[in-house]
């Protein structure tokens, strides 16, 4: 049976998600910041972590976006293969949702029309949309606005198979170490290992939408996530890059089969304002 979904419903949901994601962090992110403050050894680091939590309270109570960089709108749409969209163009409806969300939510319009000529589109469109077709008749929308302080510090490495897991560890540590204070630590690190060039990058971005409390179901990947978090927090970068042991809140790694000749590793860094909202239609 084909299920019909009105594209106007998609617009409405996206609009709400733009606002929700930019004003409230998920429970796991709130809990992670609190726990990190308790464990922080640097006095200045502790102070910054307490300010970050105060910032979340002010954002919520006074309706001020958590961060002024309300991001480029990144949207993952998992569309059930039994779904049919009606009453318009799906992509346009997504952008209409972004347009309304950023306007009605007092969110910053941070998108320029051309990467070289750089004229602001004034409505934060277009969004970056990743579609996938999945079984079923539902649509899962994940809205993850991404700020560019941390996006700019993200990296991709086309390693050799011989580099192995040590090469992967080195790639992650190098990325975080180079990012330092620029990426607004404590960060969340999304990693994609395998696939090809763009699959690795996409996995690293998608990994950021996973709860920071949830570890990979693959035993060696889970171990790698835990080991990398420990090593990153031993770098000493700390909150705001001003020293301390809270450099990252979590390392989320996704993997995929790859080619006999390659070992792609993408590291997508997110700041402590790791935002996402999820709806299922």
């Amino acid at each position: 049976m084909i299920r019909s979904i009105d594209v106007n419903l998609v617009s409405e949901q996206i609009k709400e998600m733009c606002i929700e994601a930019n004003y409230y962090l998920s429970k796991d992110m709130n809990a992670a910041l609190k726990k990190t403050e308790e464990n922080e050894k640097s006095d200045l680091g502790k102070k910054i972590l307490s300010q970050l939590q105060e910032n979340l309270k002010v954002a919520d109570k006074e309706s001020i976006p958590i961060c002024q960089d309300t991001g480029m709108a990144v949207i993952f749409m998992e569309i059930g293969q039994d779904v049919h969209f009606e009453n318009g163009n799906l992509e346009e409806s997504v952008n209409e949702g972004v347009r309304r969300g950023y306007e009605e939510g007092y969110l910053r319009k941070s998108v320029v029309k051309d990467p070289i000529f750089r004229e602001n589109t004034k409505d934060n469109t277009p969004a970056v949309i990743h579609y996938s077709i999945v079984p079923g008749d539902k649509v899962k929308i994940t809205f993850a606005p991404k700020g560019f302080g941390s996006e700019n510090m993200s990296r991709i490495f086309m390693l050799k198979p011989a580099d192995g897991i040590e090469g992967v560890k080195n790639a992650i540590l190098t990325s975080v170490s180079d990012a330092g204070p620029n990426a607004c630590p404590p960060m969340v690190i999304g990693v994609g290992i395998g696939g090809d060039f763009e699959k690795a990058a996409l996995m690293s971005k998608h990994a950021l939408t996973r709860s920071v409390e949830e570890r990979s179901p693959i035993p060696y990947v889970q171990k790698l996530e835990e080991e990398m978090l420990e090593k990153i927090n031993a770098l000493g970068i700390g909150p705001g890059g001003l020293g301390g042991n809270a450099t990252a809140l979590a390392v989320n790694i996704n993997t995929y089969p790859t080619h006999i000749a390659g070992l792609p590793v993408a590291v997508n860094i997110c700041c402590h304002v790791n935002r996402h909202a999820v709806r299922i239609l």
């Binding site: 200045l44 910054i48 300010q51 970050l52 105060e54 910032n55 979340l56 002010v58 954002a59 006074e62 309706s63 001020i64 976006p65 958590i66 961060c67 002024q68 960089d69 309300t70 007092y106 969110l107 910053r108 319009k109 941070s110 750089r118 602001n120 004034k122 700020g147 302080g149 700019n152 330092g180 204070p181 620029n182 607004c184 000493g236 970068i237 700390g238 705001g240 890059g241 001003l242 020293g243 700041c271 402590h272 304002v273």
Partner: protein
């Protein structure tokens, strides 16, 4: 050490600031980021005057979210300062004394800081809602067409920041990394 600083800021004051000091800034600060810096530089190249009074000025690298009715400004945290590295030395040589942002600076900027006895402050990145409470007034100066990148003149009151690079070139990010 905690210090209370009046903006704009003179060389006598910057000379006393040490990397690692925790400061509260009060007074007038300009807001400009990427596109505004590019335009100011182009204006100078054409022999035109700058749209801001650069002498002893502090520039906050920031692009706020829109203000709700009755508020001075929206969310207003620092942006990554290194993107302004290409433009900063020229403005420092013209008299700018303070930069407020977050993240590392280039060798050229650090040299210009030392040469001009200036200072680089870091504000807490990603705390834009909280920091907006320390901005009591905001007015548009120019480049309105740039949207969030227009130049603003703001009044801050006890705005918290950390001295990262002082007038002698001591760099807190480096000190911390060496530990």
């Amino acid at each position: 050490m905690e210090k209370y600083i009046q903006m704009p800021i003179t060389e006598e004051v910057t000379a006393d600031l040490k990397s690692g000091d925790y400061v509260y800034l009060t007074g007038t600060v300009y807001v400009a980021r990427d596109a505004a810096h590019k335009r100011m530089t182009e204006a100078l190249e054409k022999g035109e005057e700058l749209p801001i009074d650069i002498k002893n000025a502090a520039i906050y690298y920031m692009g706020p979210s829109p203000a709700r009715d009755g508020r001075a400004i929206g969310s207003a945290g620092p942006t990554t300062a290194s993107r302004m590295d290409k433009y900063a030395p020229l403005l420092l040589d013209l008299g700018q004394k303070a930069m407020i942002g977050k993240g590392k600076r280039s060798k050229e900027v650090i040299e210009a800081i030392i040469r001009n006895r200036a200072v680089y402050f870091a504000a807490v990145g990603g705390a834009g809602a909280l920091l907006s409470k320390c901005i009591v007034k905001s007015e548009l100066v120019c480049y309105e067409d740039l949207g969030a990148e227009a130049i603003l003149k703001i009044e801050v009151s006890n705005f918290p920041a950390v001295v990262v690079i002082d007038s002698e070139g001591n760099n807190l990010y480096e000190t911390v990394a060496k530990k």
